[in-house]
Symmetry: C2
Subunit: 199 residues, 2 copies
């Protein structure tokens, strides 16, 4: 059989970058094909469809991101861990050239928009899955913190609250493009969760 003339992973990286910058619906397969030096038809042959290509590119990213988060949440006092978590979150959707933004949040709000199902539904599941796993990581961190007496509250509820704030930050980032503001909100959230508001 004839061997493939392009690198699978290279294409996924290039595709994800384009999707991230211009949105899924705003990126054409012609764009990606041109950037990757591949024929459009080859992409269809290799990945099936535009959204299938996006899904694979996204899963790639999600895996890497989860690993980085796990690392950020893994050392130091509870406050340090949460600070590192928010830092990584904000850095993630502020890196690279604008308009970037959080890929997961972008995807969640942009896809899954069709009334029926289909691939959009698969994408929604992928996004939701990453959010779930991040929430679990935060919850575990809080539980461990509670055992060490650094936190007294409901880890499940607090983790949900924290994850909600990070998603909100992803939205505010696009509305205002004001990084100091985002960091202020993050610090304030940590204070509230750790009970510094209990003054």
């Amino acid at each position: 059989m004839r061997p493939r003339e392009f690198d699978h992973d290279d294409v996924l990286r290039i595709a994800f970058d384009q999707f991230w910058r211009k949105g899924v619906r705003g990126t054409s397969l012609s764009d990606i094909a041109r950037d990757a030096g591949v024929q459009r038809g080859s992409l269809y042959n290799a990945f099936g469809s535009k959204e299938a290509l996006f899904l694979q590119a996204y899963e790639r990213y999600a895996g890497d991101y989860l690993v980085a988060l796990q690392k950020a949440l893994g050392a130091g006092s509870l406050r340090k861990r949460l600070t590192a978590f928010f830092d990584l979150t904000i850095t993630n959707f502020r890196s690279g050239s604008p308009p970037r933004g959080c890929p997961t949040t972008r995807g969640l709000m942009e896809l899954g928009a069709t009334e029926g199902e289909g691939l959009d539904e698969d994408a929604r599941r992928a996004f939701a899955n990453l959010v779930s796993r991040i929430t679990a990581l935060v919850q575990d961190t809080l539980s461990a913190g509670a055992e060490r007496g650094e936190f007294s509250g409901n880890p499940a509820v607090a983790a949900l609250h924290i994850i909600t704030v990070t998603r909100g930050l992803a939205v505010l980032e696009r509305a205002f493009d004001d990084e100091p503001q985002l960091r202020k909100i993050a610090v304030h959230t940590i204070d509230l969760v750790l009970g510094k508001g209990a003054r």
Copy 2:
């Protein structure tokens, strides 16, 4: 001069409904034209472009929504006001048929995605403007509450935190479709802000 054969506001309503349900990029002017019983060309003549039409439809919605929010924030104890605020927020992006979601958040993440500027930038400004105005409303409510001794904290920061949570709720809504969870997060947020966490 020849009179228009369709009602300007009717079209805006129909268009907004479609945009809301299927996303801006997922809705075609042909769809709207068919639904509204208007020729596609007439829409271009009357509104200029798809995104201009969306902008007008959105502004319409934003005005109505702001009025409703103002009402929700205007009566009762501070806790009651904030509860009404979160209720309205959640109800807003859970009303109607799926997949709905918060129009502003949907728009913010979907539009403003092009690297350059143009109409996307106008849309971004419109979204950001609504978020700003809502934040101001919440901040005023908190300030008033502080004067009555119902709140002791920085109204500006707390308002930002609250608005961040509402945007996060809009994202979680699409990820999980779990309304009780959203309401739980809302209650928890109010507790944190009002200092019930100060036990």
